[in-house]
Symmetry: C2
Subunit: 236 residues, 2 copies
């Protein structure tokens, strides 16, 4: 019996990274989850990441602090309001205020540091170019450029012969396809949290930010039951 291939998986606490982690496990990977405490307003996602890691029985899970609030530039780390009740046309048009400058680059860099430390060559990320609210760092050409850079960045690549791979199995899927794939894999989707602006003592999903709108519609279109409790009805 061969030992499982180690892989680092970015775990945000949201739907996409939950399905990605379950996917990596289904491929026989020993999954090491990494989450980030970056001053995000929606800190409920860190509790969700821990629930997902426990439900999946990951090999390890750690939360790394990185102070993106000291850099600013996003309504997710400042006090600025999160956009609500946006139409499809609005969500599809340009980069919204919830964009965090270079966030996936910062997160993938820290995941690369962990991968090198653990001797893992694979970094799995739930990046998704469709239904992703217009973020440039969720697209495949970006991910391939990061991979090329990673293979020049590290001692493991430069001297050890490691070839890093950025694995993004959801990159071309719709939210509905992701929900269906999650159901097939038995991913613990009820443990996840996607809302940018949870409210109330139970940290219910607001139902009105871009992330809630895309998630709710994805479940409706997938035919998979949505385990999320929303604070508000969908906008008409």
């Amino acid at each position: 019996m061969t030992s499982p291939v180690p892989a680092v998986v970015l775990l945000s606490g949201g739907l996409d990274s939950c399905v990605t982690a379950a996917w990596a496990l289904s491929q026989g990977r020993a999954v090491h989850g990494i989450s980030f405490d970056y001053g995000q307003r929606h800190r409920a996602e860190l509790a969700a990441a821990a629930r997902v890691a426990a439900a999946l029985g990951l090999a390890s899970h750690r939360v790394v602090r990185v102070d993106l609030a000291a850099i600013g530039g996003s309504s997710l780390v400042t006090g600025a309001p999160v956009p609500k009740d946006r139409s499809d046309a609005e969500i599809g048009r340009g980069v919204p205020s919830t964009y965090v400058p270079a966030r996936n680059t910062v997160f993938l860099s820290l995941a690369l540091a962990l991968a090198e430390t653990l001797g893992a060559a694979e970094i799995w990320i739930g990046a998704n170019a469709l239904d992703s609210s217009g973020y440039p760092d969720c697209r495949d050409p970006y991910l391939r450029a990061f991979e090329a850079m990673a293979n020049l960045a590290t001692a493991a690549a430069a001297e050890g012969g490691t070839r890093y791979r950025i694995v993004a199995p959801l990159v071309a899927m719709t939210k509905a396809e992701i929900a269906r794939r999650g159901a097939e894999l038995g991913a613990p989707m009820a443990a996840t949290h996607s809302c940018y602006d949870p409210a109330g003592p139970d940290a219910l999903a607001c139902g009105r930010c871009d992330s809630c709108i895309l998630r709710r519609r994805g479940f409706v279109q997938s035919g998979v039951a949505d385990p999320t409790r929303y604070a508000a009805e969908p906008p008409r």
Copy 2:
């Protein structure tokens, strides 16, 4: 009169980044310094970075916390001993224990986030492929790969037409050439701190780690007076 071009400069508190910041200023840049509190054992370098920023009169300077100690993998962030009294052959051979996995990638990613937030297109870094103790992320092909990735990573590049440049003016220089260039530029080299393992109440440079050995020899070869106070004589 045109307004100065904004630039982000990585400021470690060491000699190379001090000369790099002075170089950027000499080119008319409005320099925004960024330093990192990453759990390094040689925290005296953060005080040095603040001294350098003040001496140069930078447009801004900030310290961003990122918890690389939670990832481990380097004697600079764990309790492992730092190598001392190594010969040239030993320093030139392979990647030492002071290597921090993917450190420059993490630092450049955070600098990129700051550049995007400030509307700067240039990131200056004192990376140096010679006399750099064998770190793979100090070489030019790596820096060009990071630049290519950055130009796919950000909203400013994807939608705003910004072309990011990673500027590494020291990459092909020897330590002696860097010291001479610093003297020509009037860089505040006396404010800098390079030692990996400072000791005593005055945080004197140890004189024996790779960084001290390379720095001391560079000054000797340059003919520029070395402002550093070392705790130990050079090894014979």
